[in-house]
């Protein structure tokens, strides 16, 4: 019964991801993307990576999706629909994607790690364990990522600021 949860959630993720790509209205795409991220959160819980589940829930479903929705509302795109790409390009894109998935799965088949996933250490993904790792060997990258976030924030503010005529 336990494994069927994984397959059920995986099927849901694939369906919602397909809906993200093929939905006509960008707002529907965003809403389906939220559902996809929710199924990913369930995957993390199933892997017992509770810290990642919470971070995925807050950062992706909270921050990033609100940003997407906000920009979509700001741009007011409801009247001019996306001009369709030619059908030929769509078919070529789907064929290219099919080739990619066949290549990936075919090449990874030879690796054949068929043994089931076993959690040796039950508190592997808990905050305590990850915090020790994060503030031990990964201290420098952690601090650097704060610089990255700061520069991204400054960049976003600078980019979206309306230029004044005098600076022209």
């Amino acid at each position: 019964m336990g494994t069927s949860v994984f397959y059920f959630v995986a099927t849901l993720s694939v369906i919602f991801a397909l809906m993200v790509v093929f939905a006509k209205n960008p707002i529907h795409s965003v809403l389906y993307l939220i559902l996809t991220f929710f199924t990913f959160t369930v995957h993390y819980v199933l892997l017992n990576a509770q810290f990642l589940a919470v971070v995925n829930f807050i950062v992706y479903m909270g921050a990033i999706m609100v940003l997407f929705l906000f920009v979509l509302m700001l741009l007011n795109l409801n009247k001019d629909n996306e001009p369709n790409k030619s059908a030929l390009l769509k078919v070529v894109g789907i064929i290219a994607g099919g080739c990619l998935v066949v290549t990936l799965i075919g090449s990874l088949k030879s690796v054949a790690i068929a043994n089931p996933l076993v959690l040796k250490n039950p508190n592997l993904g808990l905050v305590e364990n990850l915090g020790k790792e994060l503030f031990g060997p990964f201290m420098l990258p952690f601090e650097l990522s704060s610089l990255l976030l700061l520069s991204a924030m400054v960049g976003a503010v600078l980019l979206t600021k309306k230029e004044e005529k005098a600076n022209g």
């Binding site: 494994t3 994984f6 991801a17 960008p26 976003a156």
Partner: protein
Amino acid sequence: MGSLFENMQAVPLNHYIWFCAIIFTIGVVGVLTRRNAIVIFMSVELMLNAVNLLLAAFSVHHNDPSGQVFVFFIMALAAAEVAVGLSIIVMVYRNTQSIDINVLNRLKW
């Protein structure tokens, strides 16, 4: 929570690889076939998430927490990337009144 994972132990790592490959490919197809810049961005997010899940699965497989720390860094990077990218899209829309990426075809060469 532990009992939940007890049930999960029969899922082979192969199936995680296949599942993530499929999600990644859906993201690639989205980038190739759509022209709306925001939908292209969302497809990139799908690809990042597929890689994240695979990293977490391998971290459990090898019993090594660094994989999950990497996922954490990728999430921080994705947040920064989305903030900058969406502000670029807003600026493009302000200048061209459209977010069709074919308007920007002079970036190609």
